[in-house]
């Protein structure tokens, strides 16, 4: 017998759609200069954010957005049942160390850059399952901490390929609640890990596009909806070329979403900012969703969208050993209420 709140193969629906009651975002200087700069709560000019290392700076951003989101929801940390968070650093130290200071029961997540949507999907399940009243979700990434872990030292003089992306510096957090006012999460589609053999660690858009297309098509099939049902499909960080690949893959699956498809990585930087294919990182989908997208929903300009976090599940070790890059995409449906 299929589960009571499951639609089709990979989609769950929420009987009482959890409410996104509060959000908070912080970004770095480059993101602040981008086209969405005005939609973020705070722009931090100093990459260290007053700390001794970049890692500590990233952590401070994450802690700050979490505290802001909780206080905007008029809650105290002790009112939060679970904290779901993750980041890109080895052993997710940003999330772990932030949780150490917050004192909220913590579930650490790693979905690479898909973590924001992974955490929203799981948080909504916890709430609608009756296991939580309030869940705090959050992610962070930092260009300098990610570059040094995955690629080169930051001051190393290298010319990046045109399809490379720029890890977004920033942090985003959201409070999901069983009741309250704000946009709601009605469905979540959990993605499968998909690998079509792309091995270039610089081209994560190409590695993730098949996963994004698979989750989008699966969601539409599971819910028996047409693409027109949504105002927008928005992926996390496919970048310019990954977005194009996802569009082509969707067309092959029989769906034309070209008029209603965007990508947070494409939206966050303008072409003049020399970010090449666009932004990436946990914070990319995090800050664009918790900033611009949810503001549009609250203002009524966007009624319903299917957002996807897209993750490239590589590690520096797997790349060195010549493995290909598996991708994953988790999606949630967010509606204005």
């Amino acid at each position: 017998m299929p589960a009571a709140k499951k639609n089709g193969q990979q989609t769950v629906w929420f009987q009482n759609p959890p409410v996104i009651v509060a959000t908070a975002t912080i970004v770095g200087a480059k993101e602040g200069q981008g086209p969405l700069g005005h939609t973020f709560d705070k722009v931090v000019e100093d990459g260290y954010y007053g700390e001794k290392t970049w890692e500590r700076g990233e952590r401070r951003m994450l802690a700050e957005v979490m505290q802001t989101a909780v206080s905007r929801a008029n809650l105290q940390p002790q009112n939060i049942d679970f904290l779901l968070a993750g980041d890109l650093l080895n052993q997710i130290i940003s999330a772990n160390f932030t949780a150490r200071d917050l004192g909220i029961p913590f579930i650490g997540l790693y979905g690479a850059c898909s973590t924001m949507y992974e955490s929203m999907a799981l948080g909504a399940m916890l709430i609608d399952g009756g296991y939580a009243e309030n869940v705090l979700v959050g992610v962070s990434s930092h260009n300098s901490t990610a570059e040094r872990q995955y690629r080169y030292p930051t001051e190393q003089g290298v010319q990046r390929p045109l399809h490379a992306q720029w890890t977004v510096t920033g942090a985003a957090a959201a409070v999901l609640s069983r009741q309250g006012t704000g946009p709601v999460i009605t469905h979540a589609t959990i993605g499968k890990v998909i690998d079509l053999g792309q091995g270039d660690p610089n081209d994560m858009g190409a590695a993730m596009a098949p996963a994004a297309a698979d989750t989008m098509a699966r969601h539409l099939a599971d819910t028996a909806r047409q693409p027109e049902y949504y105002d927008l499909f928005v992926t996390g960080d496919l970048g310019v070329y990954g977005r194009e690949l996802a569009l082509q893959l969707m067309r092959q699956k029989g769906y034309d979403i070209s008029t209603r498809f965007n990508d947070c990585g494409v939206m966050i930087f303008s072409p003049e900012q020399d970010a090449h294919a666009g932004g990436s990182g946990c914070a990319c989908s995090g800050v664009v969703t918790c900033g611009y997208l949810l503001q549009e929903v609250r203002a009524g300009r966007l009624k319903r969208f299917f957002g996807l976090g897209t993750g490239a599940l590589l590690s520096p070790v797997s790349t060195m050993q010549g493995e290909t890059v598996p991708g994953i995409a988790h999606g949630v449906v967010i509606e204005g209420r």
Partner: protein, 151 residues
Amino acid sequence: MKDDQPLEIQKKQYKQMVDGVRPRPALARNVFRAFVVGGLIALIGQFLINFYQGRGLPLTEAGAAASATLVFLAALLTGLGIYDEIARFAGAGSIVPITGFANSMVAPAMEYRGEGLVLGVGARLFTIAGPVLVFGIVTAWAAALLYYFFR
């Protein structure tokens, strides 16, 4: 691409799709920039050699002094956060000359300062330059061996 096809065929078709979408690097432009900037660095080197020779150093020592000066300048520019901006423009033009080597030593040194002097800077100083040294030394050794037997 149909989902019911074998994965290997899907992979092949997807590779074609990716190759069609992926942007081509502006090869002519990159080569030109590399040529100009690399040449400019060489020109500065020649200027420095002439300068040191003019102050009375013999040619080999003037060359060494010029190299040291270039290494110092590259290290300084790396520390100021300028060298990676030059490299973004110049590509191979700023990687190949001696200044690129200096950059590849100073960048990790700065990067891993947070992990301490010994296990941070000390252990990681050669992460980029290390392979160059290893294979440079191996090649020199092989060349010397050939020279010894076949001269």
